[in-house]
Amino acid sequence: MIGLVLVASLLLILLMFCDISNEVPYDRINNKLSGRSDSWFSNMHVHQASASVEWLNYSKPNIQLKMQYPSDWQKVENQNNVTLSLSQNGSLGSEKGNVSIESYPSGNEPLEEHVGLGILNYRKHLPNFVLNNSVTDIFGDNTTAHKILYSYTNVDNHEPYTVTEFWTIIDGKVYLIKYQAEATRHYSANLPIVEKIIDSIHIERTAIFNVTSQNYPSLAFDITHDPYDIAVNPINNMLYITNLRSDKVSVMDGATDKILTDIKVGTNPEGITIRSDNNMIYVANSF
């Protein structure tokens, strides 16, 4: 009796298996899915076609850059940078928005020093400069970067501008990706297309330098404190950074790039120097 039940259930299972494999073959499932996605994509295609914009491939080998951009944007290339501007009727209007990518050697200085100097520079030279945000983010193919968002008044047309910048170091080179546009009419309007451009950016990494780029995974401290100057003790690999706006000196372990502690000093610490013989650090409390 038990044997009969076993044989019967075995047959049933076999039948079910044959049934399923006959009923819904793999390629038919595949056809169904691809048929559905075809219709989705064809809808999108119609939408894109109406704008008559195609995406162009672009590469700039000397800075290891590959990316895509829409054909209605204009490209201006220089030795170490490229700027893409949204053109209208053939004329370039800076207020409509442009995306620029530039690269220069990092000189073994940490990312926060480059970003900090950049911000100091903007504060000095851009009228009504306001730093709105400063965070760690990603762009392109999962590249970690420091992102800052700021606004200023353009000296040529007296219009308010909004800027987003991504800063990262890859293979000993600083990469600065910048989107700027007139703040009220153009910045948000162009953001969706700009996000697509920035997400298409791919920076080729050279294998031999991979370890170096991993040394700067992200910013470990608050850039809004205006890091100003840096001193290194080569004996124990400790870095001391003055933070102009927080009246503190950050102590960074050069082996891990982690901030160990912040030391309260006088007001607006600027210059810093170290005597590695007795491990004493001197901080100029400026104004």
């Binding site: 502690t261 000093v265 610490p269 600027e270 120097t273 590695s276 013989d277 004493m280 001197y282 100029a284």
Partner: protein, 77 residues
């Protein structure tokens, strides 16, 4: 602004990461530098006091100012 202008150099002990002392120097010390051991000089730190047109010389063995040298206008680095 003028009245609250700072005029100190903080000395941090790198082994404890704490401030050992604050040395009074000239007005608005913007930057400072030290002689390197290779140069074979004594243990001095030189401070550019931007708003008093002087350079303070700190003896790092005693951590006090041994001299204020009058220099040109607005020394910064």
């Amino acid at each position: 602004m003028w009245l609250t202008r700072s005029n100190t150099v903080s000395v941090i002990d790198g082994s404890t990461n704490s401030v050992l002392s604050n040395i009074t120097v000239g007005l608005n010390p913007a930057d400072l530098d030290t002689d390197t051991l290779e140069e074979g000089l004594d243990s001095f730190v030189f401070v550019a006091n931007t708003d008093s047109n002087t350079t303070s010389v700190i003896d790092t063995r005693e951590n006090n100012v041994i001299s204020n040298i009058t220099v040109g206008n607005k020394p910064a680095h």
